[in-house]
């Protein structure tokens, strides 16, 4: 049977919502110690920049070899 869980309030043993005295909650502390990767750099402005970035991505992900990357980059119009 498919189960769609609902959100429940997280409270302490006495039924009170835990109060952390101004400190970070465990979830916030975890998030602070596990920073997410920085957002991607803004998209390149010119068409040539976009093509170079796309080729760089293809190289980074192993779709093309360094030699192919070099060859294709040379074809990109300045």
């Amino acid at each position: 049977m498919l189960l769609v869980p609902k959100q429940l309030l997280r409270v302490g043993m006495t039924g009170d919502v835990p109060y952390y005295g101004g400190r970070l909650t465990p979830a916030q502390a975890y998030a602070a110690s596990h920073p997410r990767p920085r957002p991607a750099a803004p998209a390149p402005r010119t068409r040539a920049d976009q093509q170079r970035a796309a080729l760089r991505h293809l190289l980074d992900t192993g779709v093309i070899t360094p030699e192919e990357h070099e060859r294709f980059v040379a074809r990109v119009a300045p």
């Binding site: 769609v4 302490g12 835990p18 109060y19």
Partner: protein, 149 residues
């Protein structure tokens, strides 16, 4: 319910039918330490959907019914605050069980804590924090306890 109720979610790579955990909980229930309100077995598919698993053979056929009703969202339910678990004060079962995993979800009433909680309330006390010690801290506590004996 008169005692505090805990939702205990025990995860497994694959659900084990050894019954060891149930046996321990039953022992605690028999001793009056806790009351096992219900146990539900769930599996989370790789696509993230949660499914209930059938109760182990020989167990109460109603096992899991209460927990399912309590933990799942009814169609007319307006209790759901929002998906994604971004608010640390709320949680749902889908936050707890990773995709591809299975879990036993127990609703446990802590009978032993009932007088304590009532005493806290009567005296105007407020729980500021509660946590479990990590294994390293537990070892430290053991060592200190040995030294102070």
């Amino acid at each position: 319910m008169t005692g505090p109720v805990q939702v205990l979610v025990v995860g497994f790579e694959e659900y084990s039918r050894s019954g060891e955990i149930m046996a321990e909980l039953t022992k605690l229930a028999d001793a009056g330490v806790v009351r096992l309100l219900d146990v539900l077995l769930v599996a989370r598919n790789e696509d993230g959907r949660l499914e209930t698993l059938p109760a182990p053979p020989g167990s109460d056929p109603d096992l899991g019914r209460l927990a399912t009703a309590f933990l799942s969202e009814a169609e007319d339910d307006d209790h759901r605050i929002g998906q994604g678990g971004t608010d640390p004060a709320v949680w749902s079962l889908e936050d707890a069980v990773p995709p591809g995993g299975a879990a036993a979800v127990a609703l446990i009433e802590h009978m032993w804590a009932q007088p304590f909680v009532q005493a806290v309330r009567r005296s105007g006390g407020r729980m500021l924090d509660e946590t479990w010690l990590a294994p390293d801290d537990l070892e430290l506590l053991d060592r200190l306890a040995e030294e102070t004996r």
